[in-house]
Symmetry: C2
Subunit: 384 residues, 2 copies
């Protein structure tokens, strides 16, 4: 199937659409579970199918270091390797070389870095990243970009953005993979001017889709929402818009309302493994005292395998006893929660009731959230 995107309905800035890929159709807005190393943590393909996942994200950076691109390629590509029959988007490796590896040298040609796994030295250029993403068999490849840390001077952000644009052009010119879409990444930090310049520069190169990168990296929430709104009003109407690294339930709803179509984030599964579960009342810690004897599931209205079969008391026990099943059941629930949220959003947009849906969800969701966020942050800090 040829890659394509079609907007079928809008409601304010929010859009309902369909993305066509070589491995199937995706209804948007869509949340992509993150299979960083070729596995959504604690979750198998049968779980993903059952909870309604349609597209996964996987990381060129992690796969090139382990098991190696050539092994994944020999096994028939990333879909066959992890036995996932649906579409996969691969990130380019750009973000991780800056955030995870020990960066050795950044030049116009590319980036030299040391593996966070074994310290070995590696090199990525726009061309090499695309070659790897072709070998992985990604349905959607991302251009190699540079993701500046939050808090840099505007001049530094500008310089980095310009390199991202030059690399994007090299990717566009090097891209030959039949049936594979190529998305650009808008950068520019929290500067509206830089973001507009980045969007317009990349739009002039005509990519299959546009990602918004470099957000959710430490900037205040208001800045993230402001940049997302700006992009929702700027990026082409007929191309998919992918907000990278965003995926808390409240941010998903907020950013669907700002015109974003596709999302990925490790947060739902990461907080799940720490006992943090999404409910329509907000995030709760299932390993806390109130759940010790709760015969009901964590979220009564939830249709996931976990809530359909297990009490909150059982989940509480599994976390206390450090049983491995805890991580799978909690991850299934949180992924189903955000995927169902996207289903509900699509329904509301199609019916022209997205504002009411968004307000209802956000007002209910936030009641409990702040206390839980604080206690989870403390738990995380204690662990370090």
């Amino acid at each position: 199937m040829r890659f394509g995107f079609q907007v079928n309905a809008t409601d304010g800035h929010a859009r309902v659409g369909v993305l066509n890929t070589a491995h199937g159709q995706i209804a948007t807005p869509a949340f992509m579970p993150v299979a960083t190393q070729g596995s959504v943590k604690a979750i198998a393909p049968d779980d993903l199918k059952a909870l309604g996942a349609t597209m996964l994200l996987s990381n060129t950076y992690h796969l090139m270091l382990r098991p190696g691109i050539e092994i994944v390629s020999k096994m028939g590509g990333i879909q066959d390797f992890m036995s996932w029959p649906g579409p996969v988007l691969t990130d380019s490796g750009g973000f991780q070389t800056f955030s995870l590896s020990r960066l050795k040298k950044l030049s116009e040609e590319g980036v030299t870095f040391r593996s966070h796994v074994d310290g070995s030295e590696h090199f990525l250029s726009p061309e090499i990243s695309l070659e790897y993403q072709a070998l992985l068999g990604a349905d959607i490849a991302m251009v190699l970009d540079e993701c500046p840390a939050y808090g840099l001077e505007e001049a530094q952000v500008h310089e980095s953005m310009d390199r991202t644009h030059r690399w994007a052009l090299r990717c566009k010119e090097a891209h030959r993979q039949e049936g594979q879409a190529l998305f650009a990444v808008v950068q520019g930090g929290v500067s509206p001017n830089l973001r507009l310049e980045s969007a317009s520069t990349l739009m002039s190169m005509d990519f299959d889709g546009y990602a918004v990168g470099g957000l959710s990296v430490g900037e205040p929430k208001a800045g993230m929402y402001q940049m997302t709104s700006l992009m929702g009003g700027t990026l082409p109407h007929d191309k998919p818009r992918y907000l990278m690294g965003v995926g808390s339930p409240e941010d998903l709803v907020e950013c669907v309302g700002r015109g974003m179509d596709v999302f990925d984030c490790a947060l739902p599964t990461r907080v799940a493994r720490n006992g943090g579960l999404f409910t329509y009342r907000g995030r709760v810690n299932v390993d806390s005292v109130p759940f010790r004897e709760q015969d009901k599931p964590v979220e009564e209205s939830c249709d996931c395998y976990t809530c359909q079969n297990f009490s909150a008391a059982y989940l509480h026990h599994l976390f206390k006893a450090k049983e491995l099943l805890a991580y799978r059941l909690a991850s299934i629930h949180n992924l189903r929660f955000v995927i169902r949220l996207m289903e509900e959003a699509r329904h509301a947009i199609a019916e022209g009731t997205f504002d009411a849906f968004s307000e209802r969800f956000l007002s209910g969701y936030r009641i409990a959230d702040e206390n839980v966020r604080r206690s989870q942050k403390e738990k995380w800090l204690r662990k370090r």
Copy 2:
């Protein structure tokens, strides 16, 4: 359904039978996966159903310490708590108070011990253990027994065995739970005389079934097989025989051939979590070099979810990357392997070809096993 047992076919000492319990029928010989803390490690009830498990074992000792018997009871009993619709056998807590806890005091009345979880002090008597097993809702309860360590003087083993018999009688007299079966535990170490005395004493009390305890605790393999043969020739033909704590593929086949009907063991899931996978060629370490690029599943003839969907190379990668999915996929495979082995054994016994089946399996299985066992033992020792 009333508890009952029926032998439908024999082949040498091996037997094919059916066990009726309040939660369903079990074809024997049967292997019970171990849900020590109310969860088969890394495995959910949907997995257990798919891999053909029929009865689980759970531990009174662990559940009384966490989450507490009263919580499991409030949640509707152990089956509802873990969302497992089938039968459950509970161990009495006897073995663990000796092997896991800090033992404080052993008296005629019972055993006082400190929890391995939080150091709190607890007391178990034959009557209390049965009360707990009734509250848990076990389909089969076990008498509280004393399991002497391997290597004690015969006089000490004798003394311990006599107490086990007195406790068994108290259990028999205290047992009132409608629909719940009660099994006794034959003790007596590796002494044929003590074993025969233990069996005959307990048989005179007329239990619903007889377990063989105190084996696979460090004695030489020959001693274990010898005691099992002796029991296979001694215990009543019309009652189920449960060999406790035995569950390597080779021991299962050997002991089915010696007339045992039911088995439990944490070994299949424990070695799985360390990358040790059962194949018809023997146990292999999937995280070792030969599997790095193996496109085929670990065991081509296997019908489990893991082998039907994933290459050995993918499992190898998951173990190397320490992905949680590794533990589930490996555990599914090993449990399916031993459960299928019991299915094959039942088929062979019914056809009168058990000896040929046993010989074929054991000669193939042992080729690779010794080297792997050694390397896994080294790995385990390094971890301590």
